[in-house]
Structure formats: structure tokens, C-alpha cells
């Protein structure tokens, strides 16, 4: 995940030093990059590599909490877990992808406005984007229970717009109820991860020299063409970063579905948390975590590769 490039150490290919002092100096020079890497390396080992190994080993153990677990290299758990929970896994990816697309559609105009149109309101708007972080994730999601409640403001608005039938037809809502539907869960995910989309987008848009817009206009681009040919390609790094920062945590999320969904919207994160905390089936929970991780890794790799070339469009 984290690329740690080790550059060739200067002086490494020099001949043998002629005295001890110089030898020490060269030795110090050689070890400097590694010393600088040390804190990050230790951090990664303690907080990433060790838990990962632990997780992998746990997924291959058998036993129970009372009798204790033993490593039996039980690879069969993987096909079993996938077969049993593929529905939730796929659902999680679909929900996360929908939330990512929605967040992108909302965040792009927002970030664009803040970066190019906000003038002196820019900093205030940025603070407002991250202001929701001042309260807890849980509280914010609970608040959405009220917002999406039956006969609440949103259902009322949908009814007034006359789109209830349409949404019911495509299975997004259930009767007159929003809570407990896929729409509610995706809405919650979109809302909760919006800042993760907005901030990288803002950062990449803000770096674009506004004179490039003028140059595009001067070279016969309408504002819309100028946007497509100049602004959008230049903001692609922000789009990629924002979608990753939204999609990855959203795919593993278990709060939104729990608070805004129903049993029919169960996401994989919920299954994992249930297996760990209630069923106490640690191997299945660990195996599901590994599967989720590898799936996301594969999707992200494909995505980054694709967008890497599309950037040149």
C-alpha cells in the first residue's frame, strides 16, 4: 500500500575510505536513509503487518472461544464464507459505489465553487465542509433517522415531487417508508463520506491556475468545453483520491446500514462485526475481512490503472 522508495545511497559505490574517520562518516551517510525510514517502518510493522498476519492466521484457525483456537490451516473457510455471505459482499460494493458516484456528483460542483467562485467566503465554506466531523459519526447518522423518518421532511418532499412511485417501482424505497431502504443507507453513506470526497477535489481544483481558463476561452473554448478539456483532466488526481477515500471506507461501513437500513440491506461490515462481537465466530469474521480487503484491493488497482491512462484523454 505504502510505497517506500529507497534511493541509492550517495557514496555507496566509492572506493574504500583511507582512514577510520572517513569510514565512520561514510557509514553514517549510508545508514541515514534507513534511520529516517525507521519510525515509519516500525509504525507500519506494528499497526499494519502484525495485525494483518494475526488476521490471516485467525482466519485459518478452528475451535471456539471456550475451547480455544488452534491453527489448522483450514482454507475451506474461505469458500464457505464467500458462499454464505456473497450477497452482503456484493451489496456492500454496490452501495459503496453508488454512494461514491453520488458523493462525486455533489462534491465536484461544491469543490469547484469553493475553489473558483467563493472569493472571501472560501475559508468559511471549507470549515463548513468539515464541520460535521465535530460531532460523532454515530450521532450524525442517528440524526438522519429523523430526517428520513416516515412523514419526515424528505418523504414529504419526495411525495410533493411525485417521485415516490418511481422510487418504489425500482425498489429503492418500501411503500411510503424511506428508513430501512437501500436509498436510506446509500444516502447515509453519501452524507458521511462527502468531506472525504470534497477535500481532495478542492485541493486539486484549487491548484489549477485560473489563467488556464482564460487561455482556453481565448483559444475558442466555450466555458463548458474549457471545463472538459482543461479543468476536468487537471482535477483527475483529486477525483481519483476522493473516490478512493470514499469507496474504501464506505464498502466496509457497518453503521449506516445498521441505523438507517433493515435486515434486507445488511452490508458486509455488519456481518463481520456481528461474527466478531455476537456470534463470536472469529475465523469466519477474519476470513470475511480478508476477502473484503482483497476485493477492494483488486478493484482499486484496476481503477487506478484505468484512470491513470484516462487522465491523458
Amino acid at each position: 500500500m505504502t510505497a517506500l522508495a529507497v534511493h541509492p545511497v550517495p557514496g555507496a559505490e566509492d572506493g574504500p575510505p583511507d582512514d577510520a574517520d572517513e569510514a565512520r562518516a561514510v557509514g553514517r551517510k549510508r545508514s541515514t536513509p534507513y534511520l529516517l525510514l525507521l519510525p515509519a517502518g516500525v509504525w507500519l510493522i506494528i499497526f499494519f503487518a502484525v495485525p494483518l498476519v494475526f488476521l490471516l492466521s485467525q482466519s485459518l484457525q478452528t475451535g471456539s472461544l471456550t475451547t480455544g483456537y488452534a491453527l489448522t490451516w483450514n482454507f475451506a473457510i474461505y469458500p464457505e464464507a464467500i458462499a454464505q455471505y456473497s450477497e452482503q459482499l456484493i451489496r456492500s460494493l454496490v452501495y459503496a459505489a453508488s454512494a461514491t458516484v453520488l458523493a462525486l456528483l455533489i462534491a465536484y460542483p461544491l469543490a469547484y465553487t469553493i475553489a473558483f467562485r467563493a472569493g472571501r467566503w472560501r475559508n468559511l465554506l471549507l470549515v463548513l465542509v468539515i464541520a460535521p466531523f465535530l460531532t460523532s459519526f454515530l450521532i450524525r447518522t442517528l440524526a438522519w433517522q429523523n430526517i428520513l423518518a416516515t412523514d419526515g421532511p424528505v418523504t414529504g418532499a419526495l411525495q410533493a415531487l411525485g417521485v415516490t412511485d418511481l422510487l418504489r417501482g425500482i425498489g429503492l424505497i418500501d411503500g411510503n417508508k424511506l428508513l430501512g431502504t437501500p436509498l436510506a443507507v446509500v444516502t447515509g453513506l453519501t452524507y458521511n463520506f462527502l468531506p472525504f470526497m470534497t477535500l481532495p477535489l478542492y485541493a486539486s481544483l484549487e491548484r489549477i491556475d485560473p489563467r488556464l481558463h482564460e487561455a482556453a476561452g481565448d483559444l475558442y473554448s466555450t466555458p463548458w468545453t474549457g471545463f472538459r478539456k482543461v479543468t476536468l483532466p487537471l482535477s483527475m488526481p483529486g477525483v481519483v483520491a476522493g473516490t478512493l477515500l470514499t469507496f474504501i471506507p464506505a464498502a466496509g461501513d457497518y453503521i449506516n446500514s445498521q441505523l438507517l437500513g433493515s435486515p434486507s440491506t445488511t452490508m458486509i461490515g455488519q456481518v463481520v462485526s456481528g461474527q466478531f462481537l455476537r456470534v463470536l465466530d472469529y475465523p469466519t469474521a477474519a476470513a470475511l475481512s480478508v476477502v473484503l480487503m482483497l476485493t477492494i484491493l483488486a478493484l482499486v488497482t484496476v481503477y487506478v490503472r484505468r484512470s491513470g491512462t484516462e487522465e491523458l484523454l
Partner: protein, 395 residues
């Protein structure tokens, strides 16, 4: 090759251009930012195919004027006309005008070829490749067509910016101090190149600069701008030999401005009293014909007088003499306290040491008369410190 390919292409841009009269005209144009007037009721005509320079100190409204021509800024008042067509109020992409920006503003995500092709592609031109290749050859960048602009040197980026604009063969090409970021040597080189390109492709160039030498060497017509207005407009020689305001006299080269009074006329000449001494000035070389005036003479037009020199004469004391080989620069204190600058060509006579009396002389045809109410120092301190002194100007 490149040139003929470009010249062979039909003159494009506006379809509704009916006459060959493609002059750019600004009529009574004014731009205010809040209560600040950046461009003040400016009238300007740039003949088609000419190289026009807008010269003026920082903040005088050059960029604002250019941006109004490009459509990037809308004038508060007045009109912009291209030929017969009033383009005031149209959007930049609707105008057959292209800009070479001061900062180049190249698209960092596109390579040199695509940067240059940008305008052609937006107008769905055919034969993009041939046109772009021809222009890249013209600016000698064929070998860098596939490079990203970020990897190019300043001079190369400047040429890409130029190519990106001229490939569209606009009616008017606007250049906003395109050479400002370059070092002196490269700047001189690019000036020659720009001038060559302009003659070869025959476009109208409006070139903004605050380097007076750049303006003088390149332009057919120079407009000296100050405080949002045009002080004077004319060919480089006209401007230099016959400035009409103290600002123009000081900004373009250097001038000795002497307080004087018209006492009468003799034929076509004005009789002028300079602190008790009598000199003459042709009537048509003065903007004032009676009362007080500034009598101006360029330092290189003043000469150390021989015993039998005709012309106007004034006598003072040498306070400083610097010999620089090709000439000697004198400061000569006049009886009324003013120091005149004299550039004496090295004709073999040894320089006079400070303290010696010196009589300077000049031909009446070399003087000029300016309105006495103007500030004698206007424009003198605004000279770009990096720009070398133009030939003949004393430092």
C-alpha cells in the same frame, strides 16, 4: 517551408469579414474597477498587419487594455472594433483574437503538439497536424512536439505560447510582455525572432512592454501609455525626435528640459529666452507658441561648441565628465543651477575636466517645445531598471 505553408493557408477567422480592412479600433474605451479608473477614455487604431507596441510604466493599464481587446474584460464604456465588426460584449471564444499571456498559461496536461493544436481542435479545423507542424517548425520546436510544457525552458515555453496563438492566424495577436521572464540575451534573440515571424506571417501584433528598447526596435508604431491614457503615439523616430509631452520625452530615452519663455517670432521660428540667453526653435516643433514652455533637447543632440559653430548656444561649467570610449558624458551646470546632460561623440578632442567652462550648441531643428504646466520629471523615474539605456541616452 514552414513559412510558405503558413502563408499558403487562406486567411481564416471571421466568416463575416467582408473588407480587407482588418484594423483594430478602440473607441473611447474606459475601464473602471470600483472607483479606480484603469483605462481612461482611450482611442486607438492599429492598422492591419502592423506591429504595434503599447509602452508604459507598471500599472498604467496596458494589460487591462489588452484584456478588453481579447474579451477577457468588458469595458465600462466604449467600443472595440475589428474591421467593421463591433466585438464589444462578445465572449473571448467568439473573437478572432489570440493572446500570448505574460505567464504563458500553457496547459500542463497536454504536450506541446496538443497545446498548439488546442485552438484548431476547438474550431474543428481539418489538417490540424499539417498546420501545427508548420508552426512548430516556424518557432523551431519540432523536436519537442511530444514534451510536456513543464519540462521546457522559459524560452521554449514562450515559443510554444506564441505558436499556440499564431497557429490560429488571428486577426490580431496580443502579446502581453511575453519576453518579460527571459534573461537579457534570450530576450534580444526572441525579439528578433518575433519580428521575423510577424513579417513572415503578416499578422497584426499588439505587443505590450515596459522595455523601451524592445518597443523601439520592434514596433512600427508605439503608443506611450500613462495613467490609463495614451500620451503619444507614432513611429519610433517620431516619438523620439519630437515628443509631445514631458512624460514621453523622459520615458522614451532621456531629455534635457529647460524652463524658457517665448518672446517673439522670426519667420517660422520662435524666439525663446532661456534665463537671459536667446535661442530659436522652429514653430512646428513646439506644442506652445507663446508664454512659458519647456525647451527640450536630447543629450546626444547637444555638442561641445567649437569657436565658429552656428546654432543655439548656452554656456556652463563642467561638473562631471565620464569618458566611456565611444563618447564622453558631461554634466554641465548652467548659470541658473540646472545641470544639462551632454553626450559628446569621441571625435578625438580630449575630454574637458570638471570645473572648465563649456559652451554647448544644438541645431534649432533638434529642440522641441512642451507645455510648461507639465511636470518636468514625469516619466523619468519610471524607466525599467533592467532595461539597458537606449543608444544615445545618458545615464
Amino acid at each position: 517551408m514552414a513559412t510558405s505553408a503558413l502563408q499558403g493557408a487562406p486567411m481564416p477567422t471571421t466568416d463575416d469579414r467582408t473588407t480587407s480592412d482588418g484594423d483594430l479600433r478602440l473607441v473611447g474605451i474606459t475601464k473602471r474597477f470600483g472607483r479606480f479608473t484603469a483605462v481612461d477614455d482611450l482611442d486607438l487604431t492599429v492598422p492591419q498587419g502592423s506591429f504595434f507596441a503599447l509602452l508604459g510604466p507598471s500599472g498604467c493599464g496596458k494589460t487591462t487594455t489588452l484584456r478588453m481587446v481579447a474579451g477577457l474584460e468588458q469595458p465600462t464604456q466604449g467600443q472595440v472594433l475589428l474591421g467593421d465588426r463591433d466585438v464589444t460584449g462578445t465572449k473571448p471564444y467568439q473573437r478572432p483574437v489570440n493572446t500570448v499571456f505574460q505567464s504563458y498559461a500553457l496547459f500542463p496536461h497536454l504536450d506541446v503538439f496538443e497545446n498548439v493544436a488546442f485552438g484548431l481542435r476547438r474550431r474543428r479545423k481539418k489538417e490540424v497536424k499539417a498546420d501545427v507542424d508548420a508552426v512548430l517548425e516556424l518557432v523551431q520546436l519540432e523536436h519537442l512536439a511530444k514534451s510536456k510544457p513543464g519540462l521546457l525552458s522559459g524560452g521554449q515555453q514562450q515559443r510554444v505560447a506564441l505558436a499556440r496563438a499564431i497557429v490560429n492566424r488571428p486577426s490580431v495577436l496580443l502579446l502581453d510582455e511575453p519576453l518579460g521572464a527571459l534573461d537579457l540575451k534570450l530576450r534580444r534573440q526572441m525579439q528578433v525572432e518575433l519580428k521575423r515571424i510577424q513579417t513572415e506571417v503578416g499578422l497584426t501584433f499588439v505587443h505590450v512592454t515596459h522595455d523601451q528598447e524592445e518597443a523601439m526596435t520592434m514596433a512600427d508604431t508605439i503608443a506611450v501609455m500613462n495613467g490609463g491614457r495614451i500620451e503619444q503615439m507614432g513611429s519610433p523616430t517620431e516619438l523620439y525626435e519630437r515628443p509631445c509631452t514631458t512624460f514621453a520625452a523622459n520615458f522614451l530615452g532621456q531629455s534635457n528640459l529647460i524652463q524658457a519663455t517665448v518672446t517673439g517670432t522670426a519667420g517660422d521660428d520662435l524666439l525663446i529666452d532661456v534665463h537671459g540667453q536667446r535661442v530659436t526653435l522652429p514653430r512646428q516643433r513646439s506644442t506652445v507658441t507663446d508664454g512659458r514652455l519647456w525647451l527640450g533637447v536630447r543629450p546626444e543632440k547637444l555638442r561641445v561648441a567649437g569657436p565658429d559653430d552656428a546654432g543655439n548656444r548656452l554656456t556652463g561649467i563642467v561638473t562631471d565628465a565620464s569618458f566611456i570610449g565611444v563618447a564622453t558624458y558631461y554634466l554641465v551646470r548652467m548659470p541658473w543651477g540646472q545641470e544639462l546632460t551632454v553626450v559628446q561623440q569621441n571625435d578625438g578632442t580630449p575630454p574637458l575636466p570638471p570645473g572648465e567652462p563649456l559652451t554647448v550648441t544644438w541645431l534649432p531643428d533638434h529642440g522641441f517645445g512642451l507645455d510648461a504646466t507639465q511636470d518636468e520629471h514625469a516619466g523619468a523615474e519610471a524607466i525599467d531598471p533592467d532595461a539597458p539605456a537606449p543608444a544615445g541616452a545618458a545615464r
